[in-house]
Each structure stands twice: as structure tokens, then as C-alpha cells.
Symmetry: C2
Subunit: 548 residues, 2 copies
């Protein structure tokens, strides 16, 4: 074996450098430009009476970018956007980076102090918001020390609100130039987005994502889902959640149609699926649960194929089975804000179609493998980072590595370094790996229950609770126990009209689980949730402690 060819002797490194002809920064903005040129007349965005073509949407984004530039947005400026799924928020996904800015989408369920924290920490200079949230914005800005320019969008589909803010969105757009000469980022590593993790305790962390990753994950969505040309995509997933998993950019790449939706409502969802012939949508299990449990009459007249992605929490088998039951093709994906939303997928095997529904749901219920354009996702020892055996039982932590991974946390070098320790991204999710290499989450590190020295996966217990025909939702947390250290405590919401005793629930669990894993205590209640719809296990843990 010889030495590697040195630069001086290697002809492949002489006179073959990058130049403007052969190297361009990867950015999802390129998809919008191309699709507006190739399919100018196809419908890009539908929201109530707003039906805009790709040519129109591109022109609106350029006006928006130009107007942002005129009020001081330059490369590196943070622009915050607060609103439900409307064309304004869709357009912001292109206009803000076209102006060189970094898009910070804010969750509409946040309270004023949380919004103020993000505006301050993210150093936003502009806030574009939906008029329905004027009061929230006014309160939040009163808490901010820095001056922030405001643009209010009066959406005819919204409920309206105070006439707060400097200028209305359409007036703001009209002030911009539809031929604005935007440019790609100087470096594909430049930030495109800032997304605060919801975090159940402490201050949220600002996840910074880059153009390269946004481009690659937008394409990875296509490859993962084997998407057709011109998909019709229904916005059941909030765009403020990890930039809608990069789907705003995916839709531009595939010249699809975005069907906006301000509120998740089963009737409205089925109506749009039917009227617009929606082919694809995404959402957390709660969205899918809503559809499964909706009156059958709402689904009348829908016979075309619909593909759905599910993530945000490990979906209970009952949800996977239920979606199959209503004829929707479900793909289970997995990710976190730090990896642009989903960067893992339970990639299906055609052979699974021959299995019974329970077995198929079990296969599909796993978090799976890395996204096609993510480099790696594996379960490893939390300390040594070495992969665990593929035995389905050895617990480890899920690690990601690859181009669909954040730059790091804004102004938080300690958290950034900790999360990237050893050259992998530490998810904090505890899981096992099966002999086929597929990963299954057993719990969040902080959620696991240790009872008599045995680990109990709260997800496993929740799966059993969900499989009970009378239970709508359930969450399990640790309750301190003098003898065992901890025991499982279940919080359960029953379906309307169902009556069930604590003893009956415990009996159901004992029939389907090892006894030590069964809850010792069952509380019937409405589950407390974060603004992103995650169950607040910290609140439940406190309550469980109080029940002792």
C-alpha cells in the first residue's frame, strides 16, 4: 500500500477548484425560483379565498423580502413570525431567508413572557404576526427592551383582533418590489432558521438550522415518502413546529399545493381532503387520533389514496391500526427540533403487508432507521457511544450524525458542546435496537421508571392503556414508593360515555404486561399539555407525588 497522493502530485487537485459555474450554496430557496419558472400557473397556496399560483407566490415572497430589507433586515438579522398555518407564514419561509434573515417561528400557544424571552434572546428586529394574536404580541412587546418593528396580518380566515402593529401585511407587501434581486446565502452553512425547543422546564434553547440541512431534509422528505409530482399537502402540522418538518420547502421542490389550515378540526380536515383531493398530511398522534375517532359520516366521499406521516411522540399501536382502518397509508417518522423535525423513519418493507394487523402495527410502531439523506441514527451506550447489541433489549441512547443536524444552540456553547459530545447528536431518547437494526424508543431519559431495580418503559405501559377500547389518552409517570423506589402511576382520559374503574384499568394492564410494569395507581383526568401538544409529564409527576 502506498502513501496517499500528495496535493502536488495528485492531478485531481490541480486547476479543478470550485467556481461560480460548478458550485452553488445548497438552499431551499432555489426550489421556489425553479418551480415558479417551470410551473408558474400551478396553484401553490390555498387559504380560504386566497388561491395563489407559484408565479404569484414567488412574486409575493420577493415583495415580502424586499419590504423586510427596507426596514433593516440584512444577512444575519432575526425575523420572528407568529401565526397559525396561513399563506403569510408559508411565504415567510422563503421571504425571510431571501432577505438574508433568519426565520424564528413562534408557537401561537406561548404566553407573553415566553414570546418576550424568545424575541429578546433571538435578538429579533422584526415580528410579523397574525392579527388574532395582537393582544399576545402587545403584551410580549411591553416586556421587551429592544425596539422591534411589527407587521400585522389581518387574515380574513381568522377571528381578528386588536389593530396593533405598525403596518398591515398586504400593505407591507405592496411596498416591496416583486422583482427584488435576492441572492442565495454566501455560505450554505448560514443560518436559515431559529427554533426554540418547548422544554418542559427551564428556559427554551434556540436551535439554529442552516440552508444546507434545510435543502437536504426537504429533498429527504421526497425520497423517504417517494412523493409524486404535484402533491396536495394539508397543513395539519404547525409550520411553527420545526419549520413544518421542512415541508414548506419540499412542496416548492415538488411543485405541490399547500392547503392551509388555521385550526385542527376533524370536520374541516375531512372536508378539505375531499374538496382539494389532499394526498399528503403530517401530524402528531393527537391529530391522527382525532381523525380515527371522528364520526364516520365526516369521511363520506373520500376514496382517493391519502398518505400521512406521524411523529412528535411514539404513536400507540391503536393509532397505527386506526389509520389503516380508515384507509390512510401511514408512515411513522421520528425526530427532534435539533434534526429539523423528522430525520428517522420506520422504513416499510413490502413483506410486512402480509403480516396480521397487530404484527404490522408493531413493526411500524418503531422509530426505525435514519432518513435517506441523514447519515446515521443508532442506539449507543450513553457514555462510550458504542452501538448497543441489536438484541431488542439492551437499552441505550439514540444518536444522530449527518447533514440534517443543527448548527447548535444560539448563544449557548455549553449546551451545544454537550449535545455534540463525541461527534454525535445526543437525543436523550432511550431505546433498543432490534436484530433488523430498527430502533424503538423505550422512553425519554428523564421519563424512565426504575422499580425494584428494573427499568419500566412508560411508553410500553401507555401502549397497553391505549389499546383499551375505552381509553382515549393516557400517560404514565413514576410515583415514589417506599419499597420499590418508584412504581408506575397512570393518568387516563376516557372516551365519551365510557365508564371504567381504576381496578378494571389495572386488571387490563396486568393481562397485557408483566405485573411489576402495571400501574399501581390510576387517575382519571384531562391530560395537561404543552403548547406543542406534548403531555406535560413534569406536571403529572408532581401530581403523582401528591397522590402518595
Amino acid at each position: 500500500m502506498g502513501d496517499p497522493a500528495t496535493a502536488s502530485s495528485n492531478p485531481y487537485e490541480q486547476g479543478l477548484d470550485r467556481n461560480a459555474a460548478n458550485f452553488v450554496a445548497l438552499s431551499p430557496l432555489s426550489f421556489l425560483r425553479r418551480t415558479a419558472a417551470v410551473y408558474p400557473q400551478r396553484i401553490a397556496v390555498v387559504h380560504g379565498a386566497h388561491r395563489a399560483t407559484w408565479a404569484q407566490t414567488y412574486a409575493r415572497c420577493r415583495r415580502f423580502a424586499s419590504a423586510l430589507r427596507s426596514i433593516g433586515v440584512v444577512p444575519g438579522t432575526t425575523v420572528a413570525v407568529l401565526g397559525p398555518n396561513t399563506h403569510m407564514v408559508y411565504e415567510a419561509h422563503f421571504a425571510v431567508p431571501m432577505a438574508g434573515g433568519v426565520l424564528n417561528t413562534l408557537n401561537t400557544r406561548l404566553d407573553a413572557p415566553a414570546v418576550a424571552f424568545m424575541l429578546e434572546h433571538g435578538e429579533s428586529r422584526v415580528l410579523v404576526f397574525d392579527g388574532e394574536f395582537s393582544a399576545l404580541v402587545r403584551e410580549a412587546l411591553a416586556l421587551c427592551k429592544r425596539p422591534i418593528r411589527t407587521v400585522r396580518h389581518d387574515d380574513p380566515e381568522g377571528e381578528g383582533g386588536e389593530a396593533f402593529g405598525e403596518v398591515e401585511y398586504e400593505t407591507f407587501l405592496a411596498s416591496g418590489d416583486a422583482d427584488f434581486a435576492w441572492s442565495l446565502p454566501a455560505d450554505e452553512w448560514d443560518a436559515i432558521g431559529l427554533n426554540y425547543t418547548s422544554g418542559t422546564t427551564g428556559n427554551p434553547k434556540g436551535v439554529v438550522v442552516h440552508h444546507r440541512g434545510a435543502y437536504l431534509n426537504a429533498v429527504s422528505n421526497v425520497v423517504t415518502w417517494a412523493m409524486p409530482h404535484f402533491p396536495v399537502y394539508l397543513w395539519t402540522l404547525p409550520m411553527f413546529h420545526c419549520n413544518g418538518w421542512c415541508f414548506p420547502w419540499t412542496l416548492a421542490a415538488m411543485a405541490g399545493t399547500n392547503i392551509c389550515l388555521r385550526k385542527v378540526d376533524a370536520g374541516r380536515i375531512f372536508e378539505l381532503i375531499r374538496a382539494e383531493r389532499v394526498s399528503h398530511f403530517c401530524g402528531a398522534p393527537v391529530v391522527h387520533n382525532l381523525l380515527i375517532n371522528a364520526p364516520v359520516a365526516l369521511r363520506a366521499g373520500i376514496s382517493h389514496p391519502v398518505s400521512a406521516m406521524i411523529a412528535g411522540a411514539a404513536p400507540p399501536q391503536a393509532v397505527i391500526e386506526g389509520m389503516e382502518g380508515i384507509g390512510f397509508d401511514l408512515t411513522h417518522v421520528y425526530g427532534l427540533t435539533e434534526v429539523y423535525g423528522p430525520a428517522g423513519v420506520c422504513a416499510k418493507h413490502p413483506e410486512w403487508d402480509e403480516l396480521g394487523v397487530a404484527q404490522r402495527a408493531e413493526r411500524n410502531g418503531r422509530q426505525g432507521v435514519s432518513y435517506p439523506l441523514q447519515e446515521d441514527m443508532y442506539v449507543g451506550d450513553p457514555d462510550t457511544l458504542e452501538p448497543v447489541p441489536l438484541d431488542g433489549t439492551t437499552m441505550g441512547e439514540i444518536f444522530f450524525r449527518g447533514n440534517i443536524t443543527m448548527k447548535g444552540y444560539l448563544k449557548n456553547p455549553a449546551a451545544t458542546q454537550e449535545s455534540f459530545r463525541g461527534g454525535v447528536y445526543h437525543t436523550g431518547d432511550l431505546a433498543v435496537a432490534y436484530p433488523d437494526g430498527y430502533v424503538k424508543i423505550k422512553d425519554r431519559s428523564k421519563d424512565i421508571i426504575i422499580s425494584g431495580g428494573e427499568n419500566i418503559s412508560t411508553l410500553e405501559v401507555e401502549d397497553v392503556l391505549f389499546s383499551h377500547p375505552g381509553i382515549l389518552e393516557a400517560a404514565v409517570v413514576a410515583r415514589p414508593d417506599a419499597r420499590w423506589g418508584e412504581t408506575p402511576c397512570a393518568f387516563v382520559t376516557l372516551k365519551p360515555g365510557v365508564i371504567l374503574s381504576e381496578a378494571a384499568v389495572i386488571a387490563w394492564c396486568r393481562d397485557h404486561l408483566a405485573h411489576y410494569k402495571s400501574p399501581r395507581k390510576v387517575v382519571f383526568c384531562v391530560l395537561p399539555k404543552t403548547s406543542t401538544g406534548k403531555i406535560q409529564k413534569n406536571v403529572l409527576r408532581e401530581q403523582a407525588r401528591a397522590e402518595c
Copy 2:
């Protein structure tokens, strides 16, 4: 408008650098590793009795890479491969770069001096070849001054040949390590391939392509074609032609099945389409022509959807119509070796389906627009590079720009700089742009005929000739003319059994073309072609001159 945030004040540029967790070199090798892990049991490569799964193919590639390393292949070493479409050539597309080498596929129709030129110019240290070409290799090596290690593949599907070379391929593989610890390239800009342009005159130029572009074009094939999971791909296109347009890597990304094919033969092609349920194939017009004109009986029993890509020369409308006629869905793509094969596509619009076949063929006969992952393709003034008006008549040159563009020509800085002048890649193809932005080639710069001061597109004349029911193939070149400067001279191959006079051919052209564009002379013959199947217009031009 303020100044761009400086690095010192821009929080997005502090402590958010690339690291091993969030940045990985883009390389198509990653697709093989992932697919072997996720779909180990699916069939990857079929060639006669050879039916290898992705796990087996990955193991074979690692053995191959390890064996190459053991005979001196290091990062930057050129490894030449000569053979038709077999599993050996497929495996080389992964094994050579896994060893850090640069893959130089050689055309099997080259003569010994041409092969020797490429081996010398490319500085190959190893040549892996198909046994049927032993004599060619022996002759070529006799002309080389540098020592070159040789590996011969005795393919049971081949016709065999001399027992030339140091070691047989399977023995060579057996000497390697199936667990070889290969690594991604140090830089995604590193060369992955060296592809010599066939060039009708002068020495061929060595096009150097990189891992980043190979990765992106492999994915761009998926997006362009909206490919499903698990495509079954028939290798009618030579892998030695622009690395099979990056499809070896695309198939790995989509966990598809490669059906190998040593020779283009209509009977064998239809047999494999039927038996293996082939879903996709690519080829030059000559391949499609062969299928269209094949006896109808050969197509019996094929009813599943088949998608085909066509490129390599502008397809006559007759071919586009013919493929539709046999029920194959045709996508017209456009490119050159310098842009990894196709980097442009005549992206279809659903509305075109409602047009008549002639209009539809006319729309689909254009070269179209840039590939989804290529940045730009446009017609511009050859000097100023400014885009021409989108009027369908102003002639200009086609330019490409983006990540699916070569590093440059090996050891040829003058040609590299010339081809990239002004920050775009100069194709040398003359074209017009239509109001919808779609590009249509009118001619190669050097092929255009100038008659009485008017430009005549030889392709336009050829289209008319092709549309004659009795004509199989046709080519038009300039013939010197005392009065007009040049006039068109047609070379025509008739279909079997057809009798046609020169006057009848000229009359047909006059009925369908402006008189000045009609050939003044028609020669009936078999058309001379290059090793890649391109018609040798330089040979025809000489003959046309002789006919004066």
C-alpha cells in the same frame, strides 16, 4: 438598510461551527451503506445466474475496495474499468471510491490506441476488465509506458476471451475483506469519476466529477422522475456512459433492483421487462427506436407501467410518439458528460395530456429546463452570456450552472477555463427558448448549416426525415455550395424492405419544410457512429464534400 451583521456581532456565527455530528461529506457511498443495513435481503443486482441482495452486494463492494487497497489504490488513484453492463461494473461504482480511488469507466467500443491514451492520460494504476475484451486490453497495454495492474472478470454471461491479466475478478474479491473499514472522502469536492468525452475529433478530454455532484444528481434522478421505492431498473444505458447518468447510485438510494444487460437486443429487453417486471430504463434514441420497430409479438404479456428516459441526442418526434404508442411513459432528459449525464429535463405538465399526440410530442421533444437539483440551465448570448428573449426564435447557446457540473477537465486548464468562462458551463449546443422558458436545441455550434445567410437547423430537417414512415435513421450535414455557401445534404437509412428515391425524399422535405431548408442531395447508406452511438457528422461532412 443597515450593514450586514459582522462576524463579531452576528450570534449565528459564534460557536456554531461544523463538527463530526452535523457535517458529513455528501457522497453516494452513503446510500449503499444505508440500503444494505435497512433492506439487506432485497435483491440489488441481477445478471444471469447472479442474484445478489443488498447485503451481499455491499459485502462484495467492500471486498473489492479492500483488494484494490492491497494492490496500491489510495485516495486519488485512478482505477480504470472496461466492460459492458455487468455486476462487476456496477460494483466498481462503489468499490473504487470506497478505496479512495477515482473510477474511470472505458467505452467497450474504443480501439486499443484510444484505450491506451486514456490509461496514460488518466494515470490509471489498475484496470479491471471484462474477459470478452482481453484482446483489446492486451493491445492497449502494449502501447502503455506505465505499469498497470490487471483484473479480468470472466462473466458466465459473456462470450469469453483470452485468459489475459493477473487475476480473475472473483479470486481478487475473495482476497479482500468483507468488513473493510472504508471511509467517506475527506472532502465532498474530491473526485469520484473520470469520464472521457468521445469527441469526434482530436484527443478526448477527461471530465472529472466529484462526490457532491454524484450524490446530488443521484437524488435529482429520484425527484425528476418521482421514482417509487424499489424500482426495477434495466441497464439498457451503458454504465460507462457518464456513470450510467448516476443511476448506479440512484438505485442504491431507492433500494431498487439493477437488471444487467450486456447487449442491447430488443428480444432480450422485452423478455427482461416481462420476467423481472422492469419499471424503469434509460437510453439513447437508438434504443427506443429499436423497441418501437421490434415485432409486436415480442411485447406480449407486458401490461405493467414502464417509465423510460431518453437522451443522448434530441429525440425525433417519431420516437416520442412511438414510445407512447407501445404504452411506455417517456421522459425526455438532456445533458452532457460535463454535467453528469442529464441535468436538464423536459418537465411534463399534466395539461399536455389533453393535447393531440403531435402537439404533445412537440412539447416533450424540447430539452426543457434544469434538473430540480441543478441550479440553472438557460439559453444565452454566446459572448455576453445574457439570456436570449423567450421568443422561440432567437438562437443562443445553452449554459448550465450549479452543483451538478464537473470539477473541470483533467490536466487541461485551458479547456477548463474556456468551458467555464463567465461563471457558466458552455455546452456548445445552440438552442432557442420558448415563452414558457423551455429550451429547444437547434444544433451543435459546429453542425449548423448557413445557407444564403440563413441558419438551418440540421435537427429540424432530421425531424422531418424521421417522420417519413419509410425512414429508419437520418442525419443532415452541410455541403459546400458555390452559390449558397452551404446547402443541406441528407444521409438516410431506410427501414427493411422500403424502396425510396432521392426525389421522393426531397419532395417529402419540401412538403414539410421551407424550400431552402430541404436537402439538395440525399445519400442512402448505413450511418457511421462513434463508440457511444453518436452519429459521426464529421465523417458525413467529409463525404458530403466528396459528393460535390
